[in-house]
Symmetry: C2
Subunit: 462 residues, 2 copies
């Protein structure tokens, strides 16, 4: 009533009362070290973020707070306030297999495909994805790209969790858990894309598994359908030596050139890995505006190699960071990846100056947004962008003292330092409590699933 | 009185009463997945540890618990119970500079030495070390090796914290914060070693900085004093390309051969880094039973290279893991190192099978004990060893499901999962609360120190 009165008063011509009504806001975040990731990569030592609805209304110094009438205020208590992180390539449901098949050879065909054949159904995808969503929220990831089976189920629980995502229905040349016929995923993808076409958080996509598990005809069909529907395409690319060899043998091309030849290399493509990309491949990826998901930790664990992500980033390619699935990199948060990216690229270049902490944080935020072609909407804290915001607490022992927030994030922080996660203006986690998911029930369910899988494995897989 | 009566009763010949008195124990840990690291690397799925005084009395299955009358029982709640981890090389006090001089060239002479000249005094060493001790306890490290100035101050607060340590007083060819004359550290080291000779937790040591910062005469003096006093020697070795070049130029030897020529290569030496060691260097290190601290994460961040730690470990050398100081690797816990060790060595060997998780955990525990020549006392959970035990909680999201405890520790755990840390039979942290140190006061002090240093740096260093 008082607000209405003030608003009426303010609307009178010539009104200049001391109690000038302040524009309303839904949420104010105060008392943070704000990493904006804006065009000048501005860092505001004592900053404030103003959110209304799903958007950022304003970003600025502490004094900004007094100009708004917020419904709620969150005190960041001196923590780091940053754009939500983007995990540009994962397979969330595979949390159910996390830690199986580590340290062994020929994992894909000896472990992953048989495990999926034996265990993956809609319920397992639901439960595995729920755990993955929980881990993302707890780790400050606000947007992710996922490729798996039953992707409509992934979409359903992602909507429940409140995260932003590009979700790709898998298409592959063998019978899959969600499709008895090879390539059945193509029809499923079309249905899925139709169902989620206008979702504010979920961008449905095609996910042909890889150039070596989808034949040229089906890759062309995916390219045409993607153009027709304006839907993204997610794929694994230039990841394995046998992939390089077989595509060279069959098509006399690199995998990147091959994807171009079937019409897939364009602004709708997000390619994971890109380890074995020549300079001319990189130029092609750049010219076609392809997004690249750099999954360094998974690539190290599989001994595949270090993608030239730093060179690609320096050249202006769309490079984001990714964990890959939890059977590959084991965890899903991005803070755990940052140190690896900084340090392994220094080793790779034999130069301790390259890949500085600020660059790594950029890759994890704006870089990921660019990789998913979403940089007009997310990736930085700027007025007009969608309100995907993370608050990282800086009170843990490993973060004392804190001279440089980028350095602290990359070289010393833990995903457990993330305190609050906001997506699309909605608080998904506050003070480590996830509001949209029942964490304990999800974890208990995964423990049961794990016990069942372990018992079955003891009897041998078919 | 009743216990005495029962003991007397039990001593009677033929006594077989139902209430057979159970031997007393100070502490029982039950309901844990016990990684013993004993000779057969036994893992007990539902195990129990019995502690009396500073020693482990028994390790076995759950049923063991009923055989003892414990003063206290800790329920590990299904968590991982493992030997306390060993951080085989660090400079704890440098927490005060953590995050300064990241991503820049020529750091040692442009940043570290000037910062130390300007800021390091006894009080700074005390405060910086206290924060480091806190981080070690919180991260499940129970033994560490430290080299710094005012090492007697480090010893004083380490005793207060209750950790086990090999502490080396630095000896160097320039005026140091604790000694106006070059090499003043040698006399300080003798005093320090005399003062701590019989300490149950602290092994005092000499710490000549490196083969390129201590001349041959003083290296020989250290070797002689070490032999005379039976005191260990800690040193940086084969770490930098300019070290390799200058020692080749001045002595026509590798740094390892050079240390042998001055009498330092023996069972009392712990050498940090050993990145640039030839096969013949490695054979010499093995023959002389030198301990090696593999500080992979710091070596990556400085782009120095990957030490042949896996080969040395496979050959039976004494290889432990280390963080180096917090200006080098930024954090001090070992769990944060494990994933790097597993994955970067796979990359280095181009083989995803090598450096399996169990090997990495061995390096972090028994390996570190062997590196510090303490394997007869610590490094495994076995009857008769000192009771240095860590409980890692396995309820966090990233650890669901848990098929293999080694894999979980190496590829998915966080130092924040450590719940309880026990050294010498004493509980230093329980349920994340450190009992021996005032965590909040120490962190507040470091924040003040950091603010003062940052202000001074803004004005320029002398």
């Amino acid at each position: 009533m008082r607000r209405l009165f003030l608003a009426l008063l303010a609307s009178l011509p010539g009104f200049t009362g001391a109690a000038t009504p302040r524009p309303p806001a839904d949420l104010l975040i105060t008392n943070g070290r704000v990493l904006t990731m804006n065009a000048t990569r501005e860092v505001i030592a004592d900053g404030c973020i103003v959110i209304r609805g799903e958007r950022i209304l304003a970003v600025g110094p502490a004094a900004l707070a007094a100009q708004y009438a917020p419904a709620r205020t969150i005190d960041a208590r001196g923590g780091i306030v940053m754009p939500g992180m983007v995990n540009a390539h994962t397979h969330l449901a595979m949390t159910v297999f996390r830690g199986l098949g580590d340290d062994v050879p020929d994992r894909l065909r000896r472990f992953i495909f048989p495990l999926e054949r034996n265990f993956v159904d809609r319920a397992v995808v639901r439960d595995g994805t729920l755990l993955g969503l929980l881990e993302l929220i707890e780790g400050g990831v606000t947007t992710f790209a996922d490729m798996y089976y039953f992707e409509d189920e992934v979409a359903r629980v992602t909507r429940q969790a409140g995260l932003r995502a590009v979700l790709g229905q898998t298409i592959v040349n063998f019978p899959a858990p969600d499709s008895p016929e090879p390539y059945g995923g193509l029809a499923l993808a079309r249905q899925f894309i139709a169902a989620y076409r206008d979702d504010p958080l979920i961008t449905p996509a095609f996910a042909p598994h890889a150039p070596y598990t989808v034949d040229p005809r089906h890759l062309r069909l995916v390219a045409e359908a993607s153009a027709e529907l304006g839907a993204p395409v997610l794929i694994h690319l230039a990841e394995m030596t046998e992939e390089m060899t077989s595509i060279r043998r069959d098509h006399q091309m690199t995998p990147v050139e091959f994807l171009d030849s079937v019409g897939l290399l364009n602004r709708r493509l997000v390619a994971a890995h890109c380890i074995f990309v020549s300079e001319s491949d990189q130029a092609l990826l750049q010219a076609r505006e392809v997004g690249i998901a750099h999954a360094l930790v998974a690539n190290l664990k599989s001994a595949k190699g270090v993608a030239p992500a730093l060179r690609m980033f320096e050249q202006g390619l769309r490079v984001g960071l990714a964990t890959d699935g939890p059977m590959s990199g084991n965890t899903l948060d991005l803070i755990g990846q940052l140190g690896y990216v900084a340090k392994v690229h220094k080793l790779d270049r034999k130069d301790r100056n390259v890949m500085p902490a600020a660059t790594v944080v950029e890759m994890a935020t704006l870089g990921g947004a660019r990789a998913l072609h979403l940089e007009d909407r997310i990736g930085s804290l700027e007025a007009g962008k969608l309100a995907d915001v993370v608050i990282v607490d800086t009170s843990s022992t490993a973060l004392q003292p804190l001279y440089d927030p980028y350095s602290a994030l990359v070289y010393a922080a833990s995903p457990r330092d993330v305190r609050t996660t906001i997506v699309h203006g909605r608080i998904l986690m506050e003070d480590r409590v996830v509001r949209t998911l029942d964490a304990e029930a999800i974890k208990a369910r995964l423990r049961e699933l794990g016990a069942r899988i372990q018992t079955t494995l003891a009897g041998g897989l078919r």
